[in-house]
Every structure is written in C-alpha cells, then in structure tokens.
C-alpha cells in the first residue's frame, strides 16, 4: 500500500505528497529530521534572509477557536547559516528540501538565489507574502502583480533550481498574481501563506496578546480560504500548486488535491495532532483511496475547472 503515495513533484520522486511548510519546525536540520521520520515527503526551511533576524519579541503566537495567530517576524539564522542546516540534512537524506528565502528587493532576492544555487537544496521558494513584517516592510510584495512578475523573472534567470513562488491569500485577485508568477517562469506556486493578519486582546490587561499586535492566521479555520484560492488558481494556470492552509486530516488533504494541489503542506496541524501528523495523514489518504477505489494519487479526480 505504502507505494501508492509515491508521486512526483517538479521531477523529484517523493514518498508522500505531504510537505513541511516554511517556518514550521524547520529552523535547524534536526527539525527536518523529525519531520521526515514522521512521514513528510518534502521539507522546507524557515524563510531565510540575508542577515540573521531574531524576529519579534514574544508573545509571538496565540491560539483561538480554529487556529493560531503568529508573528514570528521572520526569525532565522541568515542565509549562510540557514543553508548550512540544509546541507547538513542533505548529507544523510535524499528527501527533497525547499530553501525558502525572503527579501524586500529584487537585488537581495538575487543574492539569496546565488547562495541557494551553491547549496544542496532542491528547490528555491520565494516568500513574497509574509504578513507579519508589515510595520517593517509594508504591504507584501505578492499583493502586486508587477512585483511578483519582476522578482520571479529576475530570479528565474539565474536560479539553477526550480523556483516556487509563495503567494499571499490577502489579495483581491489571486488569479492575476498567480498568472504573473507563471508568466515570469515560476515552476510552481506555493499557497497559501497566513491569512489576515488578525489580533487578539487580553481583556484583563487590556493589551493585544501578540507583542507585535497583529499576526497571520493559520490552522483549520483558513482551510476554506485556501481551498477557494487554490481552486481558482488551478483553474487558471498550468504550473503545479503546493497547496496548504489548515490541512489537519486526510480528508482535508484530499480536498486540496481535488481543488487542484499537487502536493500538500501540513503546518499548524503539527500542534493539533502531534509530530506524527504526517504519518497519520498519509494513512488517512491511503484509507480514502482504498475505500473509493483509487490506486494512485494521480487517480484522485480534480474538481471541474472554474469557467473564467
């Protein structure tokens, strides 16, 4: 049975369609290890920036009905040390690694790309969509069709790895943004990043719970938003989609596949179901396939495309 979850993503064969997304557990190579031990098929690094960042002061995470708010603030050891973690992981494993990078200018994205070219990473992911550094950097790049096009295009020209563009859900017209990435040569799309952002209040101390006040939403409550955006995008582009946002059970993963995703990220669910969540969802997908008579992931049908 295990065999039937084998699939391909951008030319790499993977044992499970489940992806550890950027910023979840994967700060160090040991974070990748625990995730693949527990069934992930691809792992993603924390979004790496040119310089190390300590991120926002705490609280940086808060729970509410249906999910989490987080405002990590892109804490990461910087591109150099971050790639050391990836290389150390790749010494002992051939599980594909996505190097996620974040910058605010094309120039820095190009510098980051060169670093990644020289690493053992398998894919390059452009995080154009972090909602938690608004104060510092303003509206995410991924809200602008032109910025997405410009950066993706420039990076594609020098990247030796397949490029994945990570999109924000907080836009009016996801299709135009997705098409910008596609026409700039992006090899795949990753969606969605966190939603909102939102805020929670401590009513006794009369303070925002997050020190940064606002944080992006993830977890079960963002699933319908993710499904909708993935489905719209799938209907409009021809590059594969790494779908994520609230996937917690096998049923959610199947929904993402039907909406158009090729592989599926599982982030916040690590909290709800433990680090074993990847193996659990793998089994649930296999059960679903057995019950409904699908022999491989490819046989699971997609929704009829939206008419545009």
């Amino acid at each position: 049975m295990q065999k039937s979850l084998k699939t391909k993503f951008l030319g790499h064969t993977i044992n499970s369609p489940l992806v550890l997304p950027a910023g979840v557990i994967g700060m160090a190579f040991s974070g990748f290890n625990i995730s693949i031990e527990n069934g992930a098929g691809i792992v993603t690094s924390k979004s790496l920036t040119m310089k190390p960042r300590t991120g926002h002061r705490g609280p940086i995470i808060a729970e509410f009905e249906g999910g989490f708010l987080n405002c990590m603030g892109l804490c990461n050891p910087g591109i150099v040390d971050g790639l050391v973690e990836i290389d150390q992981f790749k010494k002992r494993s051939n599980i594909p690694v996505i190097a996620s990078v974040f910058a605010t200018s094309t120039k820095d994205f190009l510098k980051l790309t060169k670093h990644v070219n020289n690493s053992k990473a398998d894919f390059l992911e452009l995080n154009l969509s972090c909602p938690n550094v608004f104060d510092e950097f303003g509206i995410p790049l991924s809200a602008s069709h032109d910025e997405v096009y410009k950066i993706t295009k420039a990076v594609k020209q020098i990247s030796t790895l397949p490029v994945i563009t990570k999109l924000s859900p907080n836009v009016y017209d996801i299709v135009s943004i997705a098409k910008a990435a596609e026409s700039a040569g992006s090899d795949a799309l990753c969606m969605i990043n966190t939603v909102g952002p939102g805020m929670l209040i401590d009513t006794k101390m009369i303070k925002p719970v997050l020190f940064n006040k606002f944080g992006g939403l993830s977890g079960p409550c963002v699933k319908p938003i993710a499904l909708k955006l993935i489905y719209q995008t799938y209907s409009a582009v021809n590059i594969p989609i790494l779908g994520m946002g609230g996937v917690t059970y096998g049923e959610d993963a199947i929904g993402m596949l039907m909406a158009g995703a090729e592989v599926i990220g599982v982030g916040t669910a690590v909290h709800y179901r433990g680090i074993e969540v990847f193996n659990k969802i793998n089994s649930e997908i296999m059960e679903f396939m057995a019950e409904n008579g699908y022999a491989s992931l490819q046989e699971i049908p997609k929704l009829e495309k939206l008419k545009m």
Partner: protein, 260 residues
Amino acid sequence: MEKRITLKIAKIVDETRDIKTFTFNHSLGAKPGQFIMLTDFEGGEKPFSISDCSKNEFSITVKRIGDFTTRLFQKCVGDYVSIRGAYGSSFFVSNKKVLLVGGGYAVPTFNFLAKVLLETGADITLINGACTRAEHVFDNSFKNLNINVINTTDDGTLGEAGTAVEIAQKIIAQGKFDFVYASGPELMMKALQNVIGDLEYEFLFERYMKCAVGICGSCTMDPSGIRLCVEGPVLSKRKVEKLTEFGKYHRDASGKRIKF
C-alpha cells in the same frame, strides 16, 4: 496549547538578591519538570519551570538576568501577568533511592519534584549547588521536606566547598543510588554525565523557546529533532545519549548556533 490565563501575582518571596519566587492562585495541574510561558505583554514571553504546585496554587522561581526578568522583578503582589501551560515532559516518578543534582536558579524545580517523589516513598538525596552563599536558594523549603540535603558552594561560603558534580561523583561512587535527576547549567549536567556511570538518569534542559507548542522549531535538538518544548525539557538517558549538541552549542533567538 493550554488556554492562556491572566493572573494576579499572589505572593512574592525574595530568595536571594537576584532570585524571587512568584506564587499564583490557580489550579495549574502541572507535573514536576514542566514549565509555563509567562508574559506581561510589554515585550517578551519566557519559559519558567514550576517550583511548586498544589491544588490551588503554583510558583515559579526566577533569576534576574536580562530585560524581561528585570521588569518582572519590578512587579508587585496584585499585578497581572499572563501565562500559558503547563508545557513539556515531566520527570519520571521513582519510588527508589534517588539523587537530585541541581545548580542555581534551576534547583527550585526539585522542590516540586521532591514533594511528588516523597508521596511514592522514594528515598531522596539532594545536592543543592550554587557558586556562592548569596546565590544559594530554597534552603528552608528543603529543610521542611523529609530528604537528605547536601548544600555546596563553589567557594565554600555555604555547605561543602566544591561543585555539585564533585559531590555527586563522590556519593555516586559509594553506589547508593538507583536514579539521578539533574537540573542546572548545561555544562554542569555534561560533567555529571561523565561521572554518572551506568545509572539511569533524567536531565532538564533549557533552550531558546518561542512558541512552546512544538511548531516554530526554535528548540529542536540535534540531530533527531526532539523539540525541547514538547518532548522535553526533561530528557531520559536514552535520549540524552543521542544528542550531538549537548554541552557543545545551543541556538539563539535567530536559530544561530552559539557555542557553550
């Protein structure tokens, strides 16, 4: 994530010039070794081990060390702080002859542990170590418990002169113990590991923590990826032996490796 709760500080006790115990009226339901995350919403949310926990009360014992703890030291009884937890793994509850080796602000968690072990009928020896008399804590609390206490200070200003590990080595050599617990500076625990022989043990580790719910990856331990906030902070011998970073490096808030 255990629901966040905002509580008034019910009691503050000065342990030393730089160490205070804060007590809260709240039924936390924690186990020895576990910790809470605490914030005042003024910047920073930090992990603290539970130094006492009864049905309706719990305490943490804090060393003033930087911005956050300095601000905490300025709070008064009746001021609000907000906590979440208890989080993490807890100490194995042995009913045999056990040795507790602690150093500095990390000793008070053994107050909570000792109380629980006593209920199972364990025979407890505690080495309560500090650099110097002025940093030695919880003397009185331990006196009230039915345990053997060996106080040590590096400079001999209180109890025996020498490190906690030196004392531990001596009494372990006498072959009296079934199980060893340690909580203190990582290099102390590393030294202890070298003299502990074949004894079973559990160590309480500290790493930079942000989410405390196993999601952000700040606290994974090389190479297996044990998340210290979920699978730790208490690790068994079997797990400790596999750590490649133990006593060598830890990571800061950015994830950068910092050598000890």
